[in-house]
Amino acid sequence: MSTMESLTPHTEVRVAVGRCVRTLTTSTDNKEIITAFQTLHSYLDEGPGSSTSPVQRAEFRKAHYTRTLQFLISSINADWLRLLTAAQRVELWDGLFLRGPPEQALLVLMEGIGTLRPSTSLDHLVSLTETFLRSGRLADLLWNHCLEAGPSDSPQLRETLLGRLAALPDLTANRLHPNNKPLFLPQQYYPLLAAEMLTALERTCQALRDGKDCSLTFVAQTLGKVCIQGHSGSVLAVMAPRLSVCTRSDMVWQRVCWKLLQNVPERWLESVLTGLVQAVSGPDALGRIIGNLVLKNKKAQFVITHKLLLLQYKYETRVLRILLGYLAADRERRLLVIQVLRSLCQAWANPSAVRHTPLEQQLYVSKALLLCVGLLNDSELQELRSELLQCMLGGMQSHLDSSVVRVRRMGMVVGECLSSRMDINGTKLKFEYEQDEETQELLSLMTPLTDDEPEPESVNGVHSPQEATQDKSSQNNSVHQPPKTAPDSDLDSDDELTPYDMSGDQEMSQASPPRYLRDCLEAFISSEDPVRVELSLRAAEGLVRKNVFTAREISVQLTKVLLHMEDKYNIVGFLILRQATMVALTVTDCIPVTQYLTTEFYSLNYSLRQRLDILEVLAMSAQELSQPITDKGNPSKGITPIAELTPYPGDNPVHWRQVVERRIQSKTKRLSKGATQPPAKVTPNRYAPVAGHFFFPLLRSYDRPQVTFDLLGSDHLVLGRLIHTLGLLMHLAVNAPVASQMGCALLDFVWVVRYHVDQMVRRGVLFAVCSVFLSMPSHSLLVDLSDQLFETRTWLADVAEGDPDADCRNLAVQSLVLLDKNLKKQLDPQALDLQS
């Protein structure tokens, strides 16, 4: 009996709908068609004046709505549709789509858009979908799923619906190509979807207050799906601020938010969280929105305490502040701060991480560590003291051991900050390092921002160094004139005139500079008079270049004296002057001096500085020799050669690399343009005949460690610079007959250290390889190195892909390109000609 009762409305509705459909297919009478539509509409009318019973309506929605809509779309081109006026069509035809269950309508619409060919009918459907979206049907759809008594659907259907919702812009774009509507573009659709989700959440809040139960599963799934598809930015940019405001005072909203995030499926949780931490304005807002999710959900905990802090180093400092602030804000979550600090300490102090992870990641971890330490209170610090101390000492050591300046500096700053925070018997570490934006930022992390809404990192109080030097130089010259008591009415003042560099304005010394090179030598060896030594040092380079014959007589002796000379009197520009003189000596009397210098490089009892000096002098001399003599008068002037020198290179081998970059640039250009430039003027290459004297002795005894000098052991710095220098010597030897032998020897040499732990050495190696490929004639490259080339290629490809240092990767790619070009040129010269 009960089945009969339930069947009755079922069949009744089926019969009625069937009749309507039949009428629509067969009838040509306007009135009949309208009546049929009205019947269909009557099943959707909810009001009290409705002519149908709720059971009938439910039956229609459940079983017939989708099919009716599908029928409408399939007959969209039928004649009967033309019988309706435009207004009627909007009211009756479109109305059916907009009033029924939104999920079914959306699915049918998307299906329709997917199947129809471009035509007016498709246009109609598209504009109908637009209306559908604009009239807030998405909110209804989401809200329907929030209700406990929501549409009961299969998981497959739900999955499809989620897919359609999340990927609507892609689906439409694929179908409509250029005719896509602006509303369907991701920039508009996702904010709309976000707003609709907010509406659904708001309704949920209202329902909860009214005592109804709701489920947020579907909204959470939608959010998760959208975020995993990469639209977390645009969605959360709309949602986060609103949620942050709503949760400020309203507990219901907070509960809804927490529930929402708990319901996000685990596989999508990460992208929601990463989007959220970037979109919220501060740690408090994050705390209000996600609550103690980090304690309840293992995945969330992993993402927040591990992935975001240690691995994904792409986020701004603001995000770090928010994350750690969030963890520290609550008593229960605070335990996690301690845990995080431990893992940060471990990551920061790990010597292998210092060597093998990218610099950016190290910087990120350092920032997180400092922020974390800044958040601890005194009792927690006491508790963690020993661990922090261990971390600091170990980490500092591995950072300071690094040959990369930024890493060392990072170690110093973090060490300083940690020690100041720990208060070890009132003592603090204090390093001398150059302040730059990076160190300033790191230091600023120790001071917590009290404001709830943190502002972006400000660059406050950073005085540009040149301002300071300007001040200094003007003080040098004169006391500033204080403003006159009677102000001049003239508008023109001195301010419009920019001063020139006046740093050269030094006090004149009374003594006259030496006029003979031997006097200089004498002064260096025996004089205790600072003025005399300084004048001699200043005059020496000019004298060497002016008096070539005298210089040749005492070149080795003078080089020896200069190499051992110390800056006893704190002479301004001592290093530059000394180096310039040594370079002048090497250039003037090439073979004996290089012989001396290369032998001394491997001998006992030299400081690292002196060994580096030797390398620099050799490199600069080679550079000078390889340049054509352009200005004959230049060396004889003898007054200003010092001023022409670039600043002392010091620890910065960049200038060599620039030379090569320039070469690579010019080389690639020439290939693509053809020989349009006028040929350079022919001048003899002074370097080519002596290149071997510079190069080969340096390769001789690198593997013989001595008491004070172990090139393959701890003296990475020298090794890196040695390889750099060799690379440069190789590079300068382009077109020299000896280049082939040099190239083979150099490749052999660097092969041993190609996987060195120190990135400076690796950079040097890659630089050297680059210069081999640049300078060696391509035929000898193929003939002499044929057996090594394949291995080299594999190694380079490996480095280009996997080296943690960005410079190394770039250099490896460059080398690969050069190698390929060389090979192509050699194997198939015609092809290359055609190509260019």
Binding site: L497, T498, Q506
Partner: protein
């Protein structure tokens, strides 16, 4: 980043002696000229277009020429030598001969000062036979106007500057003396108006800007001393400007009153903004004392030059702080 120190646009060589005096004449005819007086008694006339000496005048019998100037109204040159004579030269139509000369009797190094009163007449102030005496005569009549001797013992007169104030009847004269004091003389009254001790050492040079009633003097010490005349013609010293190295041989203010340049014994020319005396540039080129410095009087401000003559027998020419291509 401040601009690198400038370098000279060109150098004139071949004067054959230290260059004590420089004088531009770029306003009137073509080509622009630069006159230089050397320690060997020669006056070179440099053509600034060809950058060659057009003519060399020898008129002080091998004695050092310490001052030269052109006469605006006629094509004539006036020069002072250490042979105790001030000579007037006729340069018109390529001539180059002494037309007139005045015997000064001064054995010092004080340079004369010339003031155009009206077209055709001018006053010449020169150091007299007594070391502290300044004589003023009218040219071309050579009629003596007055002789100014200070009452107090101030030592030798070192430098003088004659000028005509806008208000007031007669010309005034500023003089620096061996003991470091400055005196302001009223020429018509033959009386001192004001006195100030500007330096502890002899005043080596002074220059004065009649428009701003402000001047500056240099000495053998490390300071330049700027001073001002108030409404009552009182000399008021202002805060000194210190130099890196002591000794200034000459000071010169540019025609537009924006720059002042000093010729330093330390081989350098220093350029200051005249308004606040802010140091602007240090011109390093010479290898010996700079003895003279002068700004050109080009009508086009972009072509203005600064010339510096040195004991190293060279004249360097600089183009700095000119509107247009290379403004400051």
């Amino acid at each position: 980043m401040s601009r690198p120190a400038p370098s000279p646009i060109y150098t004139l060589r071949g004067a054959g002696g230290p260059l004590n005096a420089l004088h531009f004449s770029c306003r009137g005819g073509d080509p622009p000229l630069l006159f230089s007086g050397s320690g060997t008694g020669a006056i070179h006339i440099w053509n600034l277009n060809t950058r060659r000496a057009e003519k060399v005048l020898e008129g002080h019998s091998g004695n050092s020429v310490i001052w030269i100037s052109t006469l605006q109204s006629t094509n004539a040159l006036i020069s002072q030598g250490r042979d105790m004579r001030v000579c007037q030269w006729d340069l018109s139509e390529g001539r180059g001969e002494v037309t007139d000369s005045v015997w000064t009797g001064s054995v010092g190094f004080c340079q004369c000062s010339l003031l155009e009163m009206s077209p055709g007449t001018r006053l010449l102030a020169y150091p007299g036979q007594q070391t502290e005496e300044i004589k003023i005569i009218e040219l071309p009549s050579k009629a003596p106007v007055c002789s100014l001797i200070p009452d107090a013992k101030l030592g030798m007169v070192m430098c003088i500057k004659l000028w005509q104030p806008d208000s007031g009847p007669g010309p005034l004269l500023l003089a620096g003396y061996e003991d470091g004091s400055l005196l302001l003389w009223d020429v018509s009254q033959r009386s001192t108006l004001s006195q100030a001790v500007a330096h502890p050492e002899p005043v080596m040079c002074l220059t004065f800007d009649p428009k701003r009633l402000r001047g500056i003097s240099g000495s053998s010490e490390k300071n330049l001393s700027p001073w001002m005349l108030d409404g009552q013609n009182n000399l008021q010293l202002q805060d000194p400007v210190s130099l890196v190295n002591p000794g200034v041989s000459q000071l010169s203010i540019r025609g537009d009153g924006k720059l002042v340049a000093s010729a330093g014994w330390d081989h350098r020319v220093r350029v200051f903004g005249w308004k606040k005396l802010r140091p602007l540039a240090v011109l390093q080129h010479h290898t010996d004392m700079v003895l003279s410095v002068a700004f050109s009087d080009h009508q086009d401000p972009r072509r203005r030059l600064l010339a510096a003559g040195s004991k190293d027998q060279r004249i360097s020419l600089w183009s700095i702080y000119n509107e247009g291509a290379d403004t400051g």
